[in-house]
């Protein structure tokens, strides 16, 4: 009987596959990415290397010594004190304590401060509180400390915001009105993000992490790129990271452009040049996990997309590798065997500058 290796499905469930099946899954995953993104598949050597990583006997694996990269953190301290049934573990603690735990106990290379809602818009009414927290944290922290939040353009639509919901307008075939609503929302979102970061930079933040950019589609990406551009003009020394929400920019509007490039339908390697053009320092590309596929398929697909983005990017690329992205299974407690294999593959095959 052929030897079988313990891998994972995209939802985290353990699955046993032979070497031949693992290679087959890797070839299918890389072919899918190549077909969608019109990019190169992994080479034969890279496929062999990925299979070798997936079949390593240890539960946890790691990069070769000397190949380590900075690991940056999103969601701020919410993974410690957040308690909404998501990735937070609900330990009562201040945000300063959370930041210092990441620096001194966990070995984080960078950290960020974030609002409990983790969207920019709700920060406005409590901006003084956020500035005070940033000043206190900066006094005590040594590693780079960002302010992190989601652009989350959906908050600007009814019933949460001032602009009519484009989904409702499109259902009524009011396509032009829906587009105008997205343009207004993007403009207001840009204004809010710039206003918030002006104040936090005056309070000592090292920079900003725009997390889950383009979650609301091309309008969200458009508004964020313009915020990056405005902040870069005003603050040449601000650290700016743009992390994406998904692998493909959804064309909710369909006609928005940045630097003459249509934003709808862009893959990671096409997003990277625009993020650099806007003035960011680091790009965080995303590839989504398919829960019905194996970790071999998902990781091969993710590594193929990210490798292409790393090759064309002029900026360091810190691949997003949270739950359900970057070859990581889609559940709140992703198995360590799958996380460490994905981590190693992204560094050693895709060549990322950080995670």
């Amino acid at each position: 009987m052929a030897t079988e290796y313990a891998l994972r499905m995209g939802d985290g469930k353990r699955v046993f596959l032979t070497k031949e099946k693992i290679i087959e899954e890797i070839e299918a995953g890389t072919a899918d990415a190549a077909d969608l993104g019109e990019i190169s598949t992994l080479s034969g050597d890279e496929i062999d290397k990925l299979a070798e990583i997936l079949m390593m006997p240890g539960k946890a694996v790691s990069v070769e010594q000397g190949m380590e990269v900075p690991v940056t953190h999103d969601i701020g301290t919410l993974r410690i004190d957040g308690d909404q049934g998501n990735s937070g573990v609900g330990i009562p603690s201040s945000r300063l304590v959370g930041c210092m735990m990441h620096e001194r106990a966990f070995g984080a290379d960078t950290m960020e401060l974030g609002h409990i809602d983790y969207s920019f818009k709700p920060v406005k009414p409590v901006i003084a509180n956020e500035c005070q927290a940033m000043e206190v944290c900066q006094q005590n922290m040594i590693i780079p400390l960002f302010y992190g939040a989601m652009p989350n353009m959906g908050l600007y639509y009814t019933p949460d915001g001032p602009f009519e919901n484009p989904g409702d307008l499109m259902k009524a075939f009011k396509i032009q009105e829906a587009r105008e609503s997205m343009e207004h929302a993007a403009e207001h979102m840009t204004r809010d993000m710039v206003w918030i970061m002006q104040r936090l930079f005056a309070s000592g933040t090292d920079g900003v992490n725009f997390d889950t950019t383009a979650a609301a589609g091309d309008g969200d990406f458009y508004g964020t790129l313009h915020a990056v551009e405005a902040l870069r003009t005003q603050f040449p020394d601000m650290y700016i990271e743009v992390g994406m929400a998904g692998e493909l920019v959804l064309g909710m509007h369909g006609e928005l452009e940045y630097d003459g490039v249509g934003l709808a339908g862009l893959w990671p390697h096409q997003q990277a040049p625009l993020v650099a053009k806007a003035g960011a320092n680091v790009f965080g590309p995303v590839v989504n996990t398919n829960t019905s596929k194996t970790s071999a398929w998902n990781l091969a697909r993710a590594v193929t997309f990210i490798k292409a983005a790393v090759e064309v990017s002029t900026l360091p690329c810190h691949v997003d590798m949270g739950m359900g992205v970057g070859g990581i299974p889609m559940l709140e407690t992703p198995p360590i065997d799958a996380v460490t294999r994905a981590s190693k593959a992204m560094v050693e095959i895709a060549g990322v500058d950080g995670i």
Binding site: A60, V71, I142, F201, T340, S343, K344
Partner: protein, 103 residues
């Protein structure tokens, strides 16, 4: 999960030199190889040593740029960052703010 990434691939922050390499990526858009070479040259070690806690612990104490444990009289927080500014020849925003506040 974040800790799994740190253990698998990370530079472990101020346990070694992860914060310094990250600063060069973010402040100068340096790719990983360039950032490691820049920091290694400034610190006076090989790039391999930047993730070596044994090497970097002693160097961090000597340079007074912060370590994870309490060392009486050693620079911490903003003071350690002011030493990092000089070491890496970069500006750090919180240090600028602090200088303005005490001027």
């Amino acid at each position: 999960m974040p800790i799994a990434h740190i253990m698998a691939s990370g530079m472990t922050g101020i346990r070694a030199a992860g914060d310094l390499v990250a600063r060069m990526e973010f402040s100068k858009n340096m790719r990983i190889g360039e950032a490691k070479e820049y920091v290694a040259k400034k610190v006076g070690v090989d790039t391999m040593d930047l993730s070596d806690e044994h090497v970097m612990r002693e160097i961090r104490e000597e340079l007074d740029i912060g370590v994870i444990t309490s060392v009486a009289g050693a620079a911490k927080g903003i003071a350690a960052k002011m030493n990092i500014e000089k070491l890496l020849d970069v500006k750090i925003n919180s240090c600028d703010l602090f200088r303005k506040q005490i001027a």
